[in-house]
Amino acid sequence: MEVTIKKISRSNLLKFIDILCRGFEVIAPVKIGGDVFFNPVKKSSELTLDYINPVESPKRFFFPQIELMYQMDFEKHEVMRDEAERKRKKLIFGIRSCDLAAINSVDKFFTGEKTDSYYRKLRQDTILVNLLCHECASECFCTAIPGGSLYCDGYDLRLSPLDDGYLAETGTTSGEELLKQNKSLFEKSGKNDIELREEAIKKLKKKIRSNHKFDKAVEKLKSEKVDSAEWSDIAKSCQDCGGCCYVCPVCTCYNIIDDVENNNLTKYRCWDSCLFSGFSRMAMAHNPHKTFGERLEYRFMHRLKYFEDRYNSLGCTGCGRCDVVCLGDIGTGAVLKRIRCR
């Protein structure tokens, strides 16, 4: 496939989004109260371009926290499924590279060896418009871990902020198509635009690495040199909320709920967390991960080693959301910092 590189002004970008809103459910960063979320918009004036990274990744739109799978009526012998969500044609606008990398990883899990039909139906045909970062938050550590990057493949269209607009690069034929259909909004890119973009990203990378440097900590972790005493010490602060897994753009564990009421069976699936003891508990209360320390160790090893071993893809993309959500102040960044310090 040919890559087209164009440029678009800020005002034309908003026009472009307005056009996209006619054909897609555009899910873009929106300011709600004091927080920024990925949320559906009807027109470009509803979204914000002034954000670092939304509170959550777009995971919820492909893998909701609680999802009705189907309902069965025993008497009428009927099966009902929730179709509204499945009919939507989604376009995610403004996704950062960490969340894009996460979608690539989650795709491998849900649609790799075996396809999860629920995920596929919500995810398929979604257009992804990547917007590269211009700034980092204090919790961001994408480039502070091996393999992490401010760039990521897998976009249909990639936008890079420049002083006088945005550089637009196509990544797929769908992206190419969108550009073609809206030719008049785009102009030729400047000679130095790619260079300028790369310089800005380099600068940002440097800034992130001056905030965090976790290469050695990750290496220590991967070679399994963090002992169980250290894990149980870290785990003293864990308040077992599950938040780190819930906000993690790569975490995919879920639990199934069967509700039987009257003549109906309703089946849901909902997010789960490997930090709960019930997650790994077996018959006779046997539990391979009995203590908080063991469960925390498992989670970190899975995110930073086992996932990559198996899928050759990052299990942690450095978004830092687990650090914000953690009641115990032991999110990934905090723990890696602690490991490095020892």
Binding site: F37, I66, D82, K236, D329
Partner: protein, 676 residues
């Protein structure tokens, strides 16, 4: 997706969250990052709200019991039946034959309407709610010393304290935000003193852990005060300028010597000395407590003693100091503020005060009953003795939550009319004559007041399940049928009326509660910014009053027949009687069955192994549950959570109450253990 900002339904922390609504259903929650308290975090219960809101087990239509089983009925028929029967009872036995339990889970507006309904439509002050079972003694204890009973400081101030004295509370599990903030304070250098018979998660971070015998609190608190006075660590300036009656206090604590305190409490003298020194010399020390202090026959004394301690050390009236009761339910502070109490109208204005009554009578256009009504515990006894004939219970489950439930059941069964307003078919609802289905917090508008007095908005995100209706609408409908017109279109109008009648809520309005508002009462007028900590210049009663208290034994002490002390309490994954959390798979899976914690030495003596069944017997009842052999409890003490209907701890508990607060002694009773 629509993101509806609202407040968590569970504990008194009052965390901000968004309900994520897609196609008319809540399909997720997100913690509010911009919220001043929880800043982007939630506990496991908060995170699991979407599972609760899937609606499993919800009541969808009014139910009337006919010949022992429930029949679905229209609202018209159900409300008609309730109002007819209430009118009948009032005619036959008088308005004081009716009791009403309001709800610490309902909104401020609903509690206000419930108490208005009781006083104006029915004509009785027999209204109370579950604060009776958790912090009634906080109010009586603190009113004596400070003049009003609420958390003096704010949850966020824990992080900046230099010393924290935490007693009878397990905030990591019951107030997760407070637990996190206390841990953060320790990591920033604060000294943490935990006084608790059990090991709790925060004892891992504590510098000193004093393990008192259950029910011996007055002794160690008086002992600490004596040490502080004798060592010259008392804040003389504060005592002189801000307090009175110090001489009598000093005299009363002088007999609490190290050896006497150790004999009563089991706390070694040197540890008590160190704790006293750390607290008194810290500069800013916060006392935080929970039901380990309040649920005793000496609850009022325990609370007064803690406030004596704070005043002696001059730890009040400044940021990161004070006496901080951690309120349990999402809106238990609000339910108290709204006067869902037998002796107060809103904002702790006494019903027995004629001027107060006249103020309300003028606005409500009705004559109000003049003398104090009955408490929850008295209403239950009244039902048993025949004094109470009809009872309306809104969002409470006394058949599992109240002490000695065999007695509660007999009492409720004697009623001529029991009406339960509920989300689920609770134990109490199942024995009712009429059950009215109410809407959940996601299905209505209103406000909650959290533990540090912040009034916050909850917002309607989805339509009520089935035919269920918000509590405020149910009360208004019922009231109109009884001939007392309420006439509110929406909860906002109720808050306007509350503000006009309640000085501490005077400046509260829905328009001020938009955005990231965290408005803490007292807020007397529209320009007042709210009050993060109380008593900066003076106490509510003017000078703080040192209230000497003497140690008294618990109502029931161990003997050769019942040799163990049973302490009841709560755990992180469950909420109260489990009507909600036991339907949430994530939470129920963590702890699916009840248990009793037994010290390994005791377990060895009675030959009980971990996870083996064990029988507990008290003078009031017995049950079989699973043993959890653990050093979390001391020898001679066993602990049981009260969430589980299959092993209901309150079959065993003692209904003896504190003289002043009428709070039952849920923290101490005597039991024996038998192998099954």
């Amino acid at each position: 997706m629509i993101r509806v900002p609202t407040i968590c339904i569970y504990c008194g922390c009052g965390c901000g969250l968004y309900l994520n609504v897609r196609d008319g259903k809540v399909n997720g929650v997100t913690p509010q990052r911009s919220h001043p308290l929880n800043s982007g975090t939630l506990c496991a219960k908060g995170w699991s709200i979407p599972e609760l809101l899937r609606g499993y087990g919800r009541l969808t239509s009014p139910l009337i019991k006919e010949k022992g089983s429930f029949i679905k009925a229209s609202w018209d028929k159900a409300l008609g039946k309730v109002s007819d029967e209430l009118n009948e009872l009032i005619k036959k036995y008088g308005p004081d034959s009716i009791g009403l339990f309001s709800s610490a889970k309902a909104t401020n507006e609903e509690n206000y309407l419930m108490m208005k309904f009781a006083r104006a439509a029915i004509g009785t002050n027999n209204i109370d709610h579950c604060a009776r079972l958790c912090h009634a003694s906080t109010v009586t204890g603190l009113v004596k010393t400070f003049g009003s009973g609420a958390m003096t400081n704010s949850q966020n101030e824990f992080e900046d304290a230099k010393a924290i004295l935490l007693t009878g509370s397990n905030p990591t599990e019951q107030h997760p935000m407070v637990g996190a903030k206390i841990r953060r304070a320790v990591e920033k250098g604060a000294k943490l003193i935990v006084v608790d018979p059990r090991k709790i998660p925060l004892t891992e971070f504590a510098h000193i852990h004093l393990r008192q015998k259950p029910g011996s609190d007055v002794a160690w608190i008086n002992g600490m005060i004596r040490i502080i006075i004798e060592q010259g660590w008392a804040d003389d300036d504060f005592i002189r300028k801000r307090t009175e009656n110090f001489e009598n206090l000093a005299l009363s604590v002088s007999s609490y010597t190290a050896s006497m305190v150790e004999e009563i409490t089991g706390i070694p003298g040197d540890l008590l000395y160190r704790a006293a020194e750390v607290y008194a010399k810290s500069g800013s020390g916060m006392i935080a407590y929970g039901m380990g202090i309040t649920q005793h026959v000496t609850g009022t004394d325990n609370v007064s003693a803690l406030s004596n301690l704070a005043m002696v050390a001059g730890q009040a009236g400044r940021p990161s100091t004070g006496v901080n009761p951690l309120r349990g339910q999402n809106n238990v502070q609000g339910a108290c503020d709204m006067g869902a109490l037998p002796n107060f109208l809103t904002g702790y204005q006494r019903i027995e005060n004629r001027e107060v009554r006249e103020k309300f009578e003028k606005i409500w256009n009705v004559k109000l009953p003049e003398s104090n009504g009955m408490t929850i515990t008295e209403i239950i006894d009244g039902a048993y003795s025949g004094k109470i004939k009809g009872l309306i219970v809104m969002g409470e489950n006394p058949l599992l939550s109240d002490p000695d439930i065999n007695h509660v059941k007999k009492a409720l069964e004697k009623l001529e009319l029991l009406v339960v307003v509920e989300l689920f078919m609770s134990e109490t609802a199942s024995i009712a004559n009429v059950v009215l289905p109410s809407a959940s917090f996601a299905e209505k508008d209103g406000t909650y007041t959290n533990t540090d007095r912040a009034i916050q908005r909850i917002r309607k995100a989805v339509l009520p399940v089935g035919e269920s209706m918000a509590d405020w609408e149910i009360i208004c409908n019922l009231s109109e049928r009884m001939g007392f017109e309420m006439g509110y279109e929406k909860p906002e109008e109720v808050m306007t009326e509350i503000a006009s009648l309640t000085p501490i809520y005077g400046g509260v309005s829905y328009s001020r509660l938009e955005g990231e508002s965290y408005l803490q009462w007292p807020c007397p007028d529209k320009s007042h910014p709210g009050t993060p900590y109380l008593y900066q210049k003076e106490f509510t009663r003017g000078k703080g009053f040192f209230t000497p208290v003497e140690y008294r034994e618990p109502d029931e002490v161990t003997d050769s027949e019942f040799p163990f002390v049973l302490v009841t309490g709560r755990i992180y994954y469950h909420w109260h009687t489990g009507t909600m959390t036991r339907k949430v798979e994530t939470l129920d899976r963590e702890v699916p069955v009840g248990y009793v914690e037994i010290n390994p030495a005791d377990a060895a003596k009675i030959k009980i192994r971990d996870r083996e069944s064990v029988k507990l017997i008290s003078r009031r009842g017995e049950l079989v549950t699973q043993a959890l052999v653990t050093e979390r409890v001391q020898e001679g003490v066993v602990f049981m959570p009260f969430h589980f209907k299959e092993a209901a701890a309150n079959l065993l508990t003692n209904p003896a109450v504190d003289r002043e607060a009428k709070i039952p002694e849920l923290k101490v009773c005597s039991v024996k253990l038998e192998k099954v």
